[in-house]
């Protein structure tokens, strides 16, 4: 039997609330590495990649739903970071800038995929092989229910319009504030909130529907 989703909250990751977002030391080190790299210090690239790539890959993975594709997009994103490094503003936070470039890479990929639909079946997360992974340390019904819930989220995310998906991902999983997400997406704060909220409604409805069927 699948339990209602609200009983499973203890298995779910906790993300900081919007108001509490402040750059941690790791983020400051990333900003510093990006700043040095923008000034022409080629040696800073390794640190920049080490600190920035995991988060960028996570964002791309959640956007496209395919780990192999996310790796390819990550490479392209960091090539573009390298190409555009001279345009990075001194003293600016690096993560929103890198995520914005990652988002550009993904959108360009989507455009190419639309032009060649037969060869890019996995761009929307339609791949059969990719299974969601959850940090579960329990067995039995609860674990099954949590896994099922994650699968519902993965499927629903893949089916969301890209505008809604990216707004939701930046706010929910990347921990950006609404203002930062709006800057990354090149949209107004109001538009970002509406897109994220619509994505949330779709995901919530899918989870509730799944929980209802399981009872």
């Amino acid at each position: 039997m699948v339990e209602p989703t609200h009983n499973l909250q203890r298995y779910l990751p906790v993300v900081p609330a919007e108001a509490s977002r402040t750059p941690d030391p790791s983020e400051r080190a990333l900003d510093d590495a990006m700043s040095r790299y923008a000034q022409g210090d080629d040696g800073a690239f390794d640190e920049l990649y080490r600190r920035g790539a995991p988060r960028t890959r996570g964002f791309l993975l959640r956007l496209c739903g395919d780990p192999a594709l996310a790796d390819d997009l990550l490479q392209e994103a960091f090539i573009r970071v390298h190409r555009a490094r001279g345009s990075f503003g001194a003293g600016s936070p690096a993560i929103p800038w890198i995520l914005a470039i990652g988002r550009n890479v993904f959108r360009d990929h989507m455009r190419r995929a639309r032009a060649r639909p037969a060869t890019t079946a996995t761009a929307n997360g339609d791949d059969e092989g990719t299974q969601p992974e959850a940090a579960l340390d329990t067995q039995g019904d609860e674990a099954l229910a949590a896994r099922e819930m994650l699968e519902v989220v993965r499927r629903t995310l893949a089916g969301l319009p890209v505008l809604q998906r990216e707004a939701f991902l930046l706010l929910r999983f990347e921990g950006l504030s609404v203002g930062e997400a709006a800057a990354v997406l090149g949209a107004s704060e109001g538009a970002v909130k509406i897109r994220a909220f619509r994505a949330y409604e779709a995901l919530r409805a899918a989870l509730d529907d799944s929980a209802g069927k399981g009872r």
């Binding site: 499973l8 298995y11 779910l12 990751p13 906790v14 609330a17 919007e18 108001a19 923008a38 022409g40 990649y49 790539a53 996570g58 993975l61 959640r62 739903g65 780990p67 990550l74 490479q75 090539i79 573009r80 390298h82 190409r83 555009a84 490094r85 001279g86 345009s87 990075f88 503003g89 001194a90 600016s92 929103p96 800038w97 914005a100 550009n104 969601p132 992974e133 959850a134 940090a135 819930m149 994650l150 989220v153 993965r154 995310l157 929910r172 999983f173 203002g179 930062e180 709006a182 800057a183 990354v184 090149g186 949209a187 107004s188 704060e189 909130k193 509406i194 909220f197 949330y200 919530r204």
Partner: protein, 231 residues
């Protein structure tokens, strides 16, 4: 939908679990460093942009000499006002694109749009307010306006190309809007040059013959901006 705008609603996003939590934790593959193409540092980008501005002014100065600066018929004040209005408008549009913004991704989109629309509006209103009205409608109005429009296109071509080169792969976000703003600024520079070349400073002639290039250039910038200026 007004309820969505309350910050409280954002807390509800936490209800949704992360299906890629573990997969996102895996170590990304290392990037092939040898394949990285050369890229300019921040100081080189600054130098490149300054050079582009200088080259654009030199290009327009050449065409100014070619078309010849109009002499006589207009007061110095009229010439200064005629140059100041597009200059200020161009400055507004330029600042919309190049300002760093609080997060290093440029100003908010509303501000970019506002500044760019303000630039074009300022030019239109300023021209209509400070330029003399056509005393009598001339049959040759459209012919004169078309001639000036063609000349202004010549003036804008160089700055547009140089700006595109200087801002290539520069904008991580809102590249279409920022490219349009830069192109409007280039159009405004062309309008400044036309003020020196053209003896006709009547409102509607300046608006159509000298100012339309701002809108045309802005449209072109918006069309090609994503391919040229997106990082």
């Amino acid at each position: 939908m007004t309820a969505v705008k309350r910050d409280l609603d954002l807390q509800r996003l936490l209800d949704i679990p992360d299906p890629f939590e573990d997969a996102a934790r895996s170590v990304p593959p290392t990037v092939a460093i040898g394949r990285r193409p050369p890229s300019p540092s921040r100081s080189r980008v600054r130098a490149l942009r300054a050079s582009a501005v200088g080259a654009a002014l030199a290009y327009d100065a050449f065409w100014l000499a070619f078309f010849r600066v109009h002499e006589g018929g207009r007061s110095t004040t009229a010439v200064v006002v005629g140059a100041t209005i597009p200059l200020v408008a161009g400055g507004l549009a330029w600042s919309a694109a190049v300002r760093r913004g609080a997060r290093g991704l440029g100003p908010a989109v509303g501000r970019i749009v506002g500044l760019t629309v303000s630039a074009v509006s300022l030019f239109a209103l300023g021209t209509l307010l400070f330029s003399p009205v056509n005393a009598d409608a001339q049959a040759s109005f459209w012919q004169g306006a078309a001639t000036c429009l063609i000349r202004s296109l010549v003036f804008v071509a160089g700055p547009l190309v140089l700006t595109a080169l200087a801002f290539r792969h520069s904008f991580a976000a809102a590249s279409t809007l920022k490219s349009a703003s830069l192109a409007v600024a280039c159009g405004a520079l062309a309008a400044v040059m036309m003020n020196f070349v053209c003896p006709d400073n009547t409102g509607f002639h300046v608006l159509v013959g000298h100012g339309a290039v701002m809108v045309l250039a802005g449209g072109l910038g918006a069309l090609v901006g994503r391919w040229v200026a997106q990082a």
